[in-house]
């Protein structure tokens, strides 16, 4: 559980001469790419005249710092030195951003002035909350914690702005559940937030336990990325066969809604067996035990060494989840990633693809045809015809 966004910078040379570098800048969960092109000639590269190129999202994030970094870049003598400069700037930027965060009225390049009323108000709030519930505290945020009856710890992070407590704090938790931001009867913010988090924990505690068991006992794709209130899990049953289960938030022990993913030939027998056995789902058994009964075989556990995606990687980019760049750039701290959702219909092939990857390939393939927002082409593996809608490709959520 990362309480503050972590930043890291890695540079990789793009050629053997070291005249151009790709940098991977990680801020929290978001990756940005920068490029550094040296000046001079390929034979005599020079740091003077070097150029820093970044994605628009990163340029926006760095705003005025971009010019400073560009100036520093030309004074650097190695990529290591520039890495340190960039890390330094990002670190400071992130600290400041956490303070000011989404309050768009606050300008990014002004340091906040904190009044005495800020600390007085904060102390008063924390006394009221009870110091046992205070997990972490620094000069602009506080992390409150609740331990549920199973010993699991749940936290709420409150980020205070300079005009706190006159202005409300911003509340965050790991579950993606929006917390009410309102004063209690005594005019305090944090007690209300903690009470609301308690209600949420009480309400969802059971489904979280079930999901945790599922993540631990079955081969769940991208289990780490599912810390939110996402109630669905994609479970690997065999090579190229997935079962997607969506659990009921209040009655997670009941039969979840289900969907099999894979080629028709592979999933048809599983689906009919599941259908025939579904009355055997027991609310007293674990999900894993129930799956074994309904499927007629023990589902595989996560392999320790090999690829973690169960052969469900995209046949073009070889990755399982594809970060959707546009969503990352526009979303406020929210990250969506695409999983392969277009399957080749040929039962001997059944390759999965990310829709955007397939569309990129069709656009590069002169034999593919486009009409009315649908692009028609052939599976790169078996030449079975596949179509993909170009309309939904880059905007999974609006």
């Amino acid at each position: 559980m990362a309480l503050s966004p972590r930043t890291s910078v890695v540079f990789v040379p793009r050629n053997a001469y070291g005249t151009s570098y790709h940098g991977l800048v990680q801020i929290g969960q978001t990756e940005h790419v920068v490029r550094v092109d040296l000046g001079g000639t390929p034979e005599h590269p020079q740091w003077r005249g070097a150029r820093l190129l970044g994605s628009s999202a990163l340029r926006e994030l760095l705003s005025s710092q971009m010019d400073i970094l560009q100036a520093k870049l030309e004074l650097c003598e190695s990529i290591e030195a520039f890495t340190a400069e960039l890390e330094d700037v990002l670190e400071k930027q992130q600290q400041q951003k956490t303070v000011e965060s989404s309050q768009s009225a606050v300008s990014l390049d002004k340091t906040p002035t904190v009044h005495a009323s800020f600390y007085a108000g904060l102390m008063d709030e924390l006394d009221a909350v009870g110091w046992d519930f205070v997990f972490e505290l620094d000069d602009h945020s506080v992390v409150l914690c609740i331990d549920d009856s199973s010993g699991q710890r749940h936290t709420v992070r409150a980020i205070m702005f300079a005009d706190f407590p006159a202005a409300p704090p911003r509340l965050e938790n790991d579950y993606g559940v929006a917390l009410r931001v309102e004063r209690d009867v005594n005019g305090r913010w944090l007690t209300g937030a903690l009470r609301h988090m308690n209600e949420i924990v009480a309400r969802y505690q059971h489904v979280w336990q079930v999901l945790r068991h599922v993540d631990e006992s079955l081969w769940v794709l991208d289990a780490e990325a599912t810390a939110s209130l996402r109630l669905s899990r994609r479970i690997v049953l065999a090579n190229l066969v997935l079962l997607e289960l969506t659990f009921h938030p209040e009655r997670p022990e009941t039969l979840p809604s289900w969907r099999f993913l894979g080629s028709e030939a592979n999933i048809a027998p599983l689906r009919s067996r599941w259908h025939a056995n579904r009355a055997l789902w027991s609310t007293n058994a674990t999900t894993r035990e129930n799956l074994e009964v309904l499927l007629g075989f023990p589902p595989p556990t996560r392999p320790t060494e090999t690829s973690e995606s169960g052969g469900f990687e995209c046949g073009i980019c070889y990755a399982y989840s594809l970060e959707d760049e546009l969503t990352v750039a526009s979303g406020e701290g929210e990250r969506t990633s695409l999983v392969p959702d277009v399957l080749c219909a040929n039962q001997h092939c059944g390759r999965p693809f990310h829709r955007p990857c397939l569309i990129d390939w069709f656009r590069a393939d002169p034999t593919a045809r486009q009409s009315l927002g649908v692009i028609f082409g052939q599976c790169p593996y078996c030449e079975q015809s596949i179509s993909a809608s170009t309309l939904a490709s880059r905007t999974p959520r609006m």
């Binding site: 990789v12 040379p13 793009r14 050629n15 053997a16 070291g18 790709h22 991977l24 990756e31 790419v33 990687e313 046949g315 073009i316 980019c317 070889y318 990755a319 594809l322 990129d360 390939w361 590069a364 790169p380 593996y381």
Partner: protein, 159 residues
């Protein structure tokens, strides 16, 4: 990390995993990035297929991966001089459909190199880059073709 590097890293991992099991049987002796810092330039070494006039030779190739790989094919050329109907003798350029129009993202660097190894043993004289070699084959002079190839293999590929 960009999509190309991610895919190439996966290919590299698969190569390292398969190396132990397939090195002895494969014509592909080596396939690796030129240096660890640049995943877009690779080098390969292949052995002349057994029973072919290339037997005993070791052939080096360079591979340039385009930045939109695998939407575009890699650019692969022989560095070692090869006498072959589908290889331009002077430049090492290879005429093979999958390197041009028949490319598909289903190919990997490894499978593409294996396809080239296959081409060594199975020339396609209908689309020649080396007219002399193709003519010998087309005229049915298998013996003449093989001794020509053997000579060049000895000169250039057996040091």
């Amino acid at each position: 990390m960009d999509a190309v590097s991610r895919r190439l890293l996966k290919e590299l991992q698969d190569l390292q995993r398969d190396r132990a099991s397939s090195a002895a049987t494969s014509e592909l002796e080596e396939l690796a990035p030129m240096d660890d810092a640049d995943l877009l330039s690779w080098k390969a070494t292949m052995r002349g297929p057994e029973g072919s006039p290339y037997e005993g030779g070791r052939f080096h190739l360079t591979i340039q991966v385009p930045s939109n790989y695998p939407l575009q094919p890699p650019k692969i050329e022989f560095v070692t001089r090869v006498c072959h109907p589908n290889v331009r003798f002077a430049t090492g350029e290879i005429c093979l459909d999958i390197l041009k129009t028949a490319w598909s993202p289903a190919w990997t660097l490894r499978s593409t190199c294996l396809a080239i190894a296959l081409l060594l043993n199975h020339p396609e004289p209908s689309s020649p880059l080396n007219v002399d070699a193709a003519n010998l084959l087309r005229c049915g002079d298998q013996l003449g073709y093989e001794s020509l190839v053997r000579m060049y293999t000895r000169i250039y590929a057996m040091q």
